[in-house]
Symmetry: C2
Subunit: 332 residues, 2 copies
DNA sequence: CTGTTAGCGCATTCAC
DNA sequence: GTGAATGCGCTAACAG
């Protein structure tokens, strides 16, 4: 493949001039520039980004590290990141960890080895993992999940508020025993949504008992099992708030399998939408969040941090809204 | 960040020896090797893949170019690719084109510039685009969609057969006027599934009329509009076969919106599953395909081609199966 | 405004 | 089995 030396020879200029034309930093005699362009075309010259990256000790790759590519929440988010990345001249390397620390570790190693320009991460994220990146001075933005023990740029939604909306809505519709299926304790999102649920109960003078709380894994099967466990308990709930989309699906499956009618017997509200939610019967009431914008915001923060590494970390919080559909409203 | 020179100095050996230890190609005195390892640890040495790539003129990045990251079909496929890539020591750069030729072009440019190790592609793929890659001797595998005008490694499913299964199944269930909503003409998948539909009709002595065929865009809205167009036609169908998952969803939405009962008034079979298909009412009958394995197979082909570039291109065809659920069976 | 030169970090000759 | 030297392709001084 042709190099700038080949182009330089062909255009009868120096390699430096070719480089200048290529990057447009300094001004070059139009005649020479034209010759260079012609030569590049003749030789089908393709700039070698690897060499360029080595020389500049910086790359144009971002890593987006997420825990479940099968969750539409993350794909939508990634799309937001990607659109911004593209227009800022970056490419996105998608890293799916499946919540597996070893996979995560391998990806971090790749980020370090490839000297990637930045990372957007949403995993369980022990801060030890993140520290490896920060020590290497690689810009990092946390998305959807807050990281403990480190202060970095973060993009979140208003989890507590959203969870409160969902819970209050169920109470407003006459449900008495509202349960909560939340995610792993160590994940901020799970904790915040649980807290929002608890606060909403207390605000209505209800007791927030642990008997109505289940911790699952943010996945469909986990939601199913948690719902089953609630139904099998001494005092089953008459409604449930599930703190992510897949667990909501799992919970509803469980209800369907047992022939329990939604919303008549048990009301359901989930956090985050699923695709074709309107085709599901009953259609699911959810706390919707701006997934795509979440990605865009994170990409924006990353861009700013790359431009200005010493800038103080900031947190962006986007808002959520309640989407009332059929699964949570019963004729009173 | 530490380089092999720093490590060499610390371990009191030459940089060449550090490089040897790093790559384990040649044998090194165990004592020295131990010193090197110690030094690497002390300095928290991270190999610089960029420099390595430049030196070797090869990278460990694969590009996976797909047209819609929002389609679970592709994400599942990507996951298959990724798992194989990981274990073969490659990372995956996900490139979402949204069927936009310009985005596609930018990604191809990035592939070329970054000298990526290989490409797995599933887009409209004018062969001109692919030729840029082939000319640069970058290994390419086509997935899901066949490329015209070039002979390269390809992974497909048995589209015609699957479409035949779906169509025959509808006829077997007493539907008389089976329509087909297929994808863009230029995409092989759309053409093959349409052909399978037509053949199945003829095999049953039916006429395969264009009046019952609609070309859409493989997306939800397209499916919706196509269904509407069919229903508004002079001779509306009593059943429909949609050639991908999202268009199936769109078609069903249209039917629901119009209060048309599925499967009683109109039967529906789709190609490819959607997540939580069982929660959708009525549950959707589909031609299921091994999406994850499709990705794995493509990754396998890519690995082989990288190892042996002169190897003859091969085509892998995986099979499909009919999943009968509620949307296509009516009491006769 | 242009050309010469050096070096980014590494793997690989080639002598020893 | 080991070390010195070279170059992968590019950009950024610097000198002209």
């Amino acid at each position: 493949m042709a190099t700038i030396y080949d182009v330089a020879r062909q255009a009868q200029v120096s390699p430096a001039t070719v480089s200048r034309v290529l990057n447009g930093r300094t001004t070059v005699d139009p005649v020479m520039a034209a010759r260079v362009h012609q030569a590049m075309q003749d030789l089908d010259y393709r700039p070698n980004a690897v060499a360029r990256n080595l020389r500049l000790s910086q790359t144009s790759l971002w890593a987006v590290i997420i825990s479940d590519i099968g969750n539409p929440f993350f794909t939508s988010m990634v799309r937001g990141v990607e659109d911004v990345a593209q227009s800022a001249g970056y490419s996105v390397v998608l890293c799916n960890t499946d919540e597996d620390p070893e996979k995560e570790s391998r990806y971090i190693a790749a980020v370090l080895a490839e000297r990637m320009a930045g990372v957007i991460i949403s995993t369980s994220g022990r801060s030890a993992v993140i520290n490896r990146l920060l020590e290497a001075r690689i810009p990092v933005v946390a998305i959807d999940r807050q990281l403990r023990g480190v202060t970095i740029d973060t993009v979140l939604v208003d989890n507590e508020h959203g969870a409160g909306l969902a819970t209050t809505h169920l109470l407003d519709n006459g449900y008495q025993r509202v349960a909560c299926i939340t995610g792993p304790r160590r994940i901020s999102t799970a904790a915040q949504r649980l807290r929002g649920y608890q606060r909403a109960l207390r605000a209505r003078g209800r007791e927030a008992t642990d008997a109505l709380v289940r911790y699952a894994d943010f996945r469909e099967e986990g939601g199913y099992r948690a719902m089953a466990s609630l139904l099998d308990s001494d005092n089953p709930p008459d409604s449930v708030f599930a703190t992510n989309n897949l667990m909501t699906v799992g919970a509803v499956e469980c209800l369907v399998d047992r022939g329990i009618r939604v919303p008549d017997e048990v009301g359901v509200v989930g956090f985050d939408d699923i695709p074709w939610a309107h085709l599901v019967r009953p259609s699911l009431s959810t706390v919707s969040q701006p997934t795509y914008d979440l990605g865009r915001a994170a990409a924006g923060l990353l861009t700013e941090r790359i431009a200005n590494p010493s800038r103080l970390p900031s947190t962006v919080m986007l808002s959520t809204g309640l989407q009332v559909r059929d699964s949570s409203t019963r004729p009173s």
